[in-house]
Amino acid sequence: MDFANLSAQLNAGAILPEGIVIITLLVTLVWDLIVGRSSTKVTPYVAIVGLLIATGTLFLQWDTTEPISFLGSFNGDAISLIFRGIIAISAAVTIPISIRYVEQSGTSLAEFITILLTATVGGMFLSGADELVMIFVSLETLSISSYLLTGYMKRDPRSNEAALKYLLIGAASSAIFLYGISLLYGLSGGETRLSAITASIISNGLDESLGLVIALVFVIAGIAFKIAAVPFHQWTPDVYEGSPTPVVAFLSVGSKAAGFALAVRLLVSAFPLVSDQWRFVLTALAILSMVLGNVVALAQTSMKRLLAYSSIAQAGFLMIGLIVGTDAGYSSMVFYLMIYLFMNLGGFACVILFTLRTGTDEINEYSGLYQKDPLLTLALSICLLSLGGIPPLAGFFGKIYLFWAGWQAGAYGLVLIGLITSVISIYYYIRVVKTMVVKEPQEMSEAVANYPEIQWNLTGMRPLQVSIVVALVFTSLAGVLANPLFNLATGSVSKTPMLQATEPMTPVVSQAPEQLPMPTVESVDL
């Protein structure tokens, strides 16, 4: 059998984007081996270009009719395309903001990029993985590269501590997850393809079995660890605080998006028999995440810990879309992730720039930054206010869409909690803005008072500046001009057969359901 024939049978074209990322990865690695330290002038840009080309090929596959490849192990449907795009772009944004940071720490940049690309490949495969083994392998690829990345600043004890914590908790949760899918494998009588599992379980007469629920709980524990939902969040603040900031940026967006992709695919296609149960568990997780994330964030004094708790809370908001399980629910989740990508990475880019200039990330040290660096102040303020859901920034529209979808599906309780905790979140986001903008010159912190002149010509400063500006522009305008993104999000859901086959959640709140029936989506699409 010749290669072309084989590849046609396997439909290998579906993983072309991942292939491009892998080639980029190899080029980066080999180029670094050949050229040595001076390769840093080229490799990051090669990686960015590779990732963008991969994203471009994802777009070309948008209308693909043959999503299933590798005999069912990989499903390149529209929802996976969107998630893979989010992960690839989050890596493409992470690289420019990390160049200067890694350079300044004196470690090798090419290796950093290689590991980051490996994590990206893992995340991308995870978004499309349609088979238990494939899921586990790609999950571990993502996880292990993430452990390496968190410990990348090997001379910094905090980075080492973070890596160790992350590794231990991550390994434990991987084991739990693996145990969950092994139960699933057993219940289905040796079936590993997600789409076939349910049918097998039913034909084996095990659809009422307790084992299925136990498998579900274990699987959710593994997923919740990845998306950092309360109570599986304990690693987040410590790891975020200790890890190199660019890595945190990637973990909070790319890794989280991969977790959501896994959650959607696994829960929707392998656990339809216990959909009430997983919705119930996720509702609890979402409520806990929103409440705890937002409340504990109030007390943080370190910017990175603040963003860690904020990202926990954001995961809670995102879960609303997953829980309601309507078309609008899924697409609001996707939409929010796309916006979250830019606002969160923008926020981290600003934190990185500030850390590079002053060597600290305490919130108090931001006092009076407006006088010294208006651009940084503006960008960080916009990103934080967008995370807080202030109009007319992108985050406002994202949240409105999530709450809209939640309300449409009758999840009134979740929406109300989301709204109340959003108000709480405004307090801590605006506290940072206030610290930067309001303080008088005499109240300026020492770090800001000694703020060095900006030298944009240093290696890696330009890319950092460019990504801050891109994030700023996107966060300011993506909400107002949201239509293309909305179409992308709704298209990704309506083109995905898996999501079309499922029934949405039944309203949990029994309060007069006949008064608020769900309108059909057709009536909404005016």
Partner: protein, 533 residues
């Protein structure tokens, strides 16, 4: 509904926002370029506004005019739909006038001027947006849009306790505005047809219980902003700590957003629930008036005293809304306009005083009439308007509310008597606290107070700003039709609709719900027929 005419309202909303964009890039020598630039943007906006309304607004049509509607995000039903009617048009002009004058009044802002003027322009847009929005989601967006600018304006350029005041402001208002969004969602998804369009939402028929819940939600949201008695505590802090130009807008326009909301959402859209809540509104109004007047008397801080006086004056608006008579509702709107002008004038003048004396404590002031005769004269005129001296707009507003409420046939005579007597007590209290304020600050012996060297009188610019506000006050006072003709057609239609709600309840004496407070004694058909004439 696509209109073919020129999209005036869109231009009016977007112009300040667009004008704010280049400010960070402007060269700013001695802080002059930016302030002239912003002021001219404000003036252009205001004159465009006047021109647009002069050309396109027909005073005799009660319904919406200058309608524009473009789909913005159809997936969630968000439309950029704007229109004005008699309720919103005068308030748009009021916000244009007050904000433009506030821009002129912020001459002394030397610290971070670019940020200041950017935020002022964003607020300008948001205010017009709130009054012109015809889509509930758009209304909510505009309502929220104004939060952060106000927060930053207070927190940056405010007085001693500015951070506390600003945080309190944003948390109260943001928490209150949750209810707007929830109510918008609930109403939009109610029944089969999904829409956020305010008119369509008003036309939907809801169950009475549902309307009551929605009414309560809106009342909470607007009650924070208006403010209504137990939810008012942010206001004295915010208004007294804010810099004078921001206080002008806060008291002059932002409170009116809540009054407008009450008229638009509660009274117009939920007219079936209005009769149940109207007695509560009247009572809350009385509480506002009496409580705030008494508290105002105890304040030593000049701006706090005026902030409490604002709360008292908003109480009259509540009574007017509760009256079920055209006169009362018109009075409520007139009271909003007049208070907008008066409060802006008084806060501006107290800012002028503060700039010279650097204190707002009335104990430390005294006998300044000799040194600052112009400020004294203007301040006196403003206070007289505020205490409802005949010939000033405040008098007309309060009088028509009293007349409207007294002539209302929706309440028992006892209830009306109690409300009117207590509210009248508030009218007596307002001269007490305002005149004692004038006495402490301007009369008396200057030697008793802290000596302030080099106290200068008002500059021409400052006198001009105060006059721009005082002339309409006196104009409306002498010839109320100046203001009333802008909204009469709409308030008549609105009152008729509210009375329909009243008579619906009259026709179904057996209610399926408990009355929240006391049932309005409902008018008989004869009286109704009489009123229709």
């Amino acid at each position: 509904m696509m209109s073919t005419q020129f999209p005036w309202l869109t231009v009016l909303i977007l112009l300040p926002l667009v004008a704010a964009l280049p400010i960070p890039l402007l060269p700013n020598k001695y802080g002059r370029t930016v302030r002239w630039y912003t002021l001219s943007a404000g003036l252009i906006e205001f004159s465009l506004m006047l021109y647009a309304f002069w050309q396109n607004y027909d005073l005799n049509t009660p319904g919406f005019q200058m309608v524009e509607s473009y789909p913005w995000i159809p997936q969630i039903g968000l439309n950029w739909s704007l229109a004005v009617d008699g309720l919103s048009m005068p308030l748009v002009i009021l916000s244009g006038l007050v904000t433009t004058l506030a821009l002129l009044a912020s001459w002394q802002i030397k610290d971070k001027p670019r940020l200041f003027y950017c935020l002022m322009l964003v607020m300008y847009s948001a205010q017009i947006g709130v009054f012109a929005a015809q889509d509930m989601l758009l209304f909510f967006l505009m309502w929220e849009l104004e939060l952060v600018p106000v927060y930053l304006l207070i927190a940056n350029w405010g007085g001693q306790n500015r951070l506390y005041a600003a945080t309190k402001f944003i948390l109260y208002t943001a928490a209150g505005s949750i209810f707007i969004l929830v109510a918008a969602f609930a109403m939009a998804f109610y029944g089969g047809d999904f829409t956020f369009d305010m008119q369509a939402l008003g036309d939907k028929s809801y169950s009475v219980a549902f309307e009551l819940v929605m009414y309560g939600a809106f009342l909470l949201a607007f009650g924070v902003k208006l403010p209504i008695f137990p939810l008012h505590t942010w206001l004295p802090d915010a208004h007294s700590e804010a810099p004078a130009p921001v206080s002008m807008i806060l008291a002059g326009v932002l409170l009116k957003m809540a009054g407008y909301g009450l008229l638009r959402m509660n009274m117009e859209m939920l007219s079936d629930a209005h009769p149940y809540f109207a007695p509560v509104l009247a009572i809350l109004g009385v509480v506002n008036i009496v409580y705030a007047s008494l508290t105002a008397f105890a304040q030593d801080n000049l701006k706090r005293r005026m902030a409490y006086s604002s709360i008292a004056h908003m109480g009259f608006v509540l009574i007017g809304i509760a009256s079920f008579t055209t006169l009362g509702v018109s009075g409520a709107l007139l009271q909003m306009i007049s208070h907008g002008l008066i409060a802006a004038a008084l806060f501006f003048l107290s800012g002028v005083t503060y700039e010279r004396t650097h204190t707002l404590s009335m104990k430390k002031l005294g006998g300044m009439a000799k040194q600052m005769p112009t400020v004294f004269a203007l301040f006196t005129a403003g206070s007289m308007a505020s205490l409802a001296l005949p010939g000033m707009s405040g008098f007309v507003g309060e009088l028509s509310i009293f007349l409207g409420f007294t002539s209302s046939d929706a309440y028992s005579t006892t209830f009306k008597a109690v409300v009117v007597v207590l509210a009248a007590a508030g009218v007596i209290l307002s001269p007490i606290y305002l005149l004692s304020m004038l006495r402490q600050v301007f009369y008396g012996d200057a030697s008793e107070a802290v000596a302030i060297p080099g106290l200068t009188d008002a500059k021409p610019r400052e006198a001009f700003i105060a006059l721009c506000l005082l002339i309409p006050i006196i104009g409306i006072g002498l010839y109320p039709k100046l203001a009333t003709q802008t909204y009469d057609a709409t308030t008549v239609a609105l009152t008729t609709q509210a009375r329909d709600g009243l008579s619906t309840i009259a026709r179904q004496p057996m209610l399926d719900i408990e009355l929240p407070f006391m049932a309005p004694t409902v008018l008989g058909t004869e009286a109704q027929a009489h009123l229709v004439d």
